[in-house]
Symmetry: C2
Subunit: 339 residues, 2 copies
DNA sequence: GTATAGTGGGACATAATATGTCACACCGGG
DNA sequence: CCCGGTGTGACATATTATGTCCCACTATAC
């Protein structure tokens, strides 16, 4: 995209929404002319009143005219529509991608940022910012947020900023030790995010490798039990999605389990669960915290993952997360839609 | 200007205002950083609260950062400023021209439309539309509007549209016969404008060439006298500005008067008055209606004139019209500022 | 040391704007 | 003749922008 449009979007982000709305109105009128407001509003899925405001504006701009038979474009309106046609396709590329993702995945909302995090490291931060904005939009004071691990989640924590909406929000790690390096562990990221947000946090101190007996007794420890209960009652979960094999390697998974993961064709990973391309769980890391069965009962689930290489993993995981929000990037979204 | 920007402006006219405001804020911060809100608000001449809203937005966009010492641009902010620099100059060219005209002419408001009516006939219509928008902004129900003649005023009448704000507005011709062709006479244009506006109008039936006696007695006719009184009490005058010699020729001015006009170096003409380059009246067509002395007592005076060839005439006339609004075009404005 | 003038940020009432929801007058075709 | 479409006006309400305070904090000058 040309840098100018990029700059425009930065200085006036909702410009594109307005432009798109007006463009669609002109477009529809050009196709259905002459048409009345009510019929057009129904067709465009917007309320009659906002359509009326818009058409009155467009009429003032001499782009359309209205008489008793309905509205139609003026000559100038047709010209403008033609001028805008190509540009809108490009400028609205991301919005189109978002719409396509929402449709294909059957999820309520997808957010696509420009770039490809496989190729440009800063795109991950951009996703982080988008995710933070999304969190701030959904969170209420007093909420509990469960945060998973991974490099993408680290970027989210990195981009977190304080906000009045985050007042009294409590951050907790989503699950116990998954075998990651310390800087990508849920505990670390949870603490970092909370600090950046000026919020409170609680950590889950559960070693990676434990015998079943030790595990069972640790869970009964009051300090651990309390945090686990907080996690269970969280109102939001934020997590990344990984490529199954990559994640398994990074976690130095024992050969036996690794064989299982490969043999059962796992392609995606999220907070310790491994999924095959159909979204079936084929392996899970045994630890405490959020379990997959809990997710449907959590108000807001945000999945963050980008990069063309992760498109397959995202597709696989999202099959089992119909009410999750997805924050991704252009690279992944295009690989997705292009399939 | 590239057609895309043209289209953007058409579809979202106040976009440029927002862009300009935000651009100026970024620009000022880049120069004065670190600087606080209050000092910056004073420097930019905007209220602290709106500046605060803007800076909060820009901070959210990651274009500037704030700490206890004040605000400064981020790296991204600097880059965006650089990207926008050239484009803003072009996009805001008209606004700059308006500001320059207001300054140079000492008038409260100048409106500049794109193009040059000398070269593109449609620019006159564009001026007409701008003039109509301006009239609608200023008029109140029940107002009386005096309308002069000329081809430019014909374009204004052409572009007039009905409006709730024009309810019960009465249109009257500014002055009696000036020797023009019928389609450019004030009477004709007045009637046309009123019809397009769905408003009422009164006409002034005074033949061009009359003896002084006939003239004096006609003015005492009740029908004429009533209209003249309406004209005297008008709250708005809208008129064009012409090149003196061109207008004199078009009006088939008798050789004696023509000689006078040329000998005294008349350059501008407006509603029957001829002005030299210093704004002095060097000749006037003797007829009834608005006289030059009335203008200072009229709330709103709008002068409409465009085309590079008219720049000198506009300058000359506007010297004596310090509280007039001016609607002009890029061609005239550039010729003006370039002088 | 302290006084001071600057900083950003929070809070709240009010103005301005957008929107939802009606009712009305009109016109053309069954 | 009426019915379903049209645009337009009107008004209450939700939403947003703005004006006007205040506060805590921190550099800096003294």
């Amino acid at each position: 995209m040309e840098p100018l449009v990029e700059a425009l979007k930065k200085l006036s982000p909702d410009l594109l929404d307005v432009m798109q709305k007006r463009y669609e109105i002109l477009h529809s009128i050009s196709l259905m002319a002459p048409i009345g407001r009510r019929a057009l509003a129904a067709s465009l899925g917007m309320s009659e009143r906002v359509l009326r405001s818009e058409t009155e504006f467009l009429k003032g701009q001499n782009l359309l005219s209205a008489d008793v038979s309905g509205m139609r474009l003026t000559e100038e309106g047709h010209e403008l529509l033609h001028t805008l046609h190509d540009w809108m396709r490009e400028a609205l590329g991301l919005k189109e991608l978002e719409a396509a993702l929402q449709r294909k995945l059957g999820i309520p909302r997808a957010i696509v940022v420009a770039g490809d995090s496989d190729r440009s490291p800063w795109v991950k931060k951009e996703m982080g910012r988008a995710c933070v904005a999304c969190m701030k939009e959904l969170l209420e004071p007093g909420d509990i947020v469960a945060v998973a691990g991974g490099t993408t989640m680290a970027a989210v924590a990195e981009m977190m900023t304080p906000d009045a909406k985050l007042r009294d929000v409590l951050f907790v790690p989503a699950r116990g030790g998954l075998g990651e390096d310390v800087e990508n562990q849920a505990n670390t990221i949870c603490a970092k995010m909370a600090e950046k947000a000026m919020g409170r946090y609680r950590l889950l101190h559960v070693p990676d490798q434990l015998s079943d007996e030790a595990h069972a007794s640790l869970v009964e420890e009051p300090a651990v039990k309390e945090v686990l209960e907080l996690i269970q009652s969280c109102r939001m979960v934020v997590h990344g999605i990984g490529d199954a094999v990559t994640m398994a390697k990074r976690r130095k998974t024992p050969p036996a389990e690794m064989g299982n993961i490969i043999a059962r064709h796992a392609v995606a990973e999220a907070f310790g669960y491994y999924f095959n391309e159909y979204g079936d769980v084929v392996h899970k890391v045994k630890t405490v915290g959020i379990q997959l069965e809990h997710l449907p009962h959590v108000e807001h689930v945000i999945a963050v993952a980008g990069g063309a290489s992760k498109a397959k993993a995202i597709r696989a995981y999202m099959k089992r997360a119909p009410h999750s929000l997805l924050v991704t990037d252009e690279g992944a979204a295009k690989a997705f839609v292009g399939e």
